[in-house]
Amino acid sequence: MDSSPVMAPAGTFAGQPTVLSLSRRVAAKLRGAPLISLGILALLVFTAVFADFLAPHNPEVGNLRLRYRPPAWETRGSAEFILGTDHMGRDVLSRIIYGSRISLIVAVAAVLVAGIIGTTLGLLSGYIGRWVDQVIMRVTDTWLALPPVLFAILLAAVLQSSTWKIPSKWNIVIILGVVFWTRYARVIRGEVLSLKERDYVRLAIVAGCSRLKIMWTHILPNVANSAVVLATLQIGVVIVAEATLSFLGVGVAPPEPAWGLMASEGKAGLMTGYWWLSVLPCLCIMLVVLAASSLGDWFRVWSDPQLRQL
């Protein structure tokens, strides 16, 4: 350990921190992380990425003669279709696997879109203030007054009848992004209002920085943390929203295997005993949402030193 010499010339630091190995530091930092949630989400990502290799059958084309087969552990089930088949004879497992890709893409993309819109508006609103703030906040209030699902349906109808022919997946991303940005704007604005008063922002003004530079260099990195926490908490919400839209028929269009859509197509089967058509996709939704929320919660506490009580 490098110890300072006696009567050190002003400027030596008081001792060097001992350097732990990288793995020790990572392990110490991640202490307390919800491993099961991380595992579930890791599995989701893995499945989404390697769907082509993991799915035993084609998710979109089925054999009508093999329809309504139950999962393997029931009588009449077979190992060929581990989770059974749906009303079109398509393999449920393969559809779930490919469905993970849709859920993941839509969730991440929608959260990104919502995050970027919301954070930008919150930043401008909080830092510039005055009439910009008033306008943005009133817009936010109005937006929040609209019931999200109805609003989404409205938007979906509008987009579907528009002349652009965007694949339905990206429609959903835009819709969800547009519906969910308000939470970010509010939270980020609040943080920006208090960050504005920090000494280092004042010093940046004194140094001659432009407003844009201050927002980009000084404010944004310090609110990024909150934005990320919000995003992790919103992933669950967005997945459910996507599933809801698909369930209602205004989300992802068949034959694409979105979990919500699968639940919708299979709902008739709940009455007639073909439970696996709806229940299995819903189980997946539930697991992923729980995992994402749990992770988001842990991250919120972990990233805020005060809450960690160190």
Partner: protein, 323 residues
């Protein structure tokens, strides 16, 4: 007196107090700074000393253009800063920098120290990267920090070291004036002396002027050439450090001396215990603002406000006891 670097003339800042949710009306004025005049020469230090509500912080913010004066002028090198725009405004920003009180909020925790120090340079001059790096190293060694410090983040430094970083940043553009807002009050006692010595050395080396704002009378007297004692938005006494030390005239200035803590248990000092609380700047007392608490109050004090009168060369007092 136009050879002075900065001249403050009858500076006032009144904050309106609003009431009402939808239709706001002004029901009062907080007269935070109410007619303050002094000047800062090249290479000298002017200290503003006073307690809460005296207006020293607001004055400083106006000089830094963080607040707009209600009336009065701040003349920098012969130009009123309120009329500055464009290139002239830039030149002003380059000439006047600041170091604030709290070393923990003065540095952006997400930016490396080298970039923090270089920011004023990068914003105001277009120097090649290598030159900027060189300058940062130069500044680090000027304030007594190791060159390797540039790559570290603020949280790896102690309070005293952070203030050194803040000082290095303030020096980066070779300003003519640095505003020091309570630069050492948040630091440990043993570190305060280090920083005060550093500030003195830098002034000797570069001839930079300081506007020092502090509540610690001893520190202000130690570092300043001229001292202005402020009370509730006004200057009550303006004198050189030596004159104030040997002969404080205004009762409030005397009270500050008396209230300051002794350096030895046997130290005898005239006890001038000022009674009562510091009044709110929303409703300052009539006449002389200090009269309700003044041990030498006369009838005229509650009626007529005293003005700063020259008692001696470089010594002015605003008090009815003197002229």
């Amino acid at each position: 007196m136009s050879d002075k670097l900065v001249e403050i003339r009858d500076l006032k800042k009144h904050f309106p107090v609003m009431k009402g949710l939808v239709f706001q009306e002004t029901i009062g004025l907080v007269k935070a700074v109410d007619g303050v005049s002094y000047s800062i020469g090249s290479g000298e230090t002017v200290g503003l000393v006073g307690e809460s509500g005296c207006g020293k912080t607001t004055t400083m913010k106006m000089v830094l253009m963080l607040e707009k004066p209600t009336s009065g002028a701040i003349i920098f090198r012969g130009q009123d800063i309120q009329s500055l725009a464009g290139k002239d405004l830039k030149a002003y920003r380059k000439g006047v920098q600041a170091v604030f009180q709290d070393p923990y909020s003065s540095l952006n925790p997400r930016i490396r120290v080298g970039d923090i120090i270089a920011e004023p340079l990068v914003v105001n001059e277009s120097l090649p990267r290598a030159k900027v790096k060189e300058r940062v190293q130069e500044l680090l060694s000027l304030v007594g920090l190791r060159p390797g410090a540039a790559d570290l983040f603020p949280h790896e430094f102690s309070g005293g070291q952070r203030q050194r970083i803040a000082i290095a940043r303030a020096l980066s553009l070779n300003p003519s004036l640095i505003i020091l807002d309570e630069p050492v009050s948040a630091l440990d006692v043993s570190i305060r002396a280090q920083i005060m010595n550093l500030l003195q050395d830098l002034q000797e080396q570069f001839g930079v002027s300081y506007l020092l704002i502090a509540h610690d009378l001893a520190a202000v007297l130690h570092l300043s050439t001229t001292v202005a004692v402020m009370y509730l938005g006004k200057i009550v006494e303006l004198a050189t450090s030596e004159q104030l030390r040997t002969q404080p005239l205004h009762p409030y200035a005397q009270a500050l001396f008396s209230a300051a803590l002794p350096v030895h248990p046997d130290e005898q000092r005239e006890e001038i215990i000022v009674t009562g609380e510091i009044p709110s700047p929303l409703n300052p007392p009539s006449g002389c603002r200090f009269h309700p608490r003044c041990p030498f109050v006369k009838p005229i004090c509650s009626e007529v406000e005293p003005v700063l009168k020259q008692i001696d060369t470089d010594h002015q007092v605003a008090c009815h006891l003197f002229g």
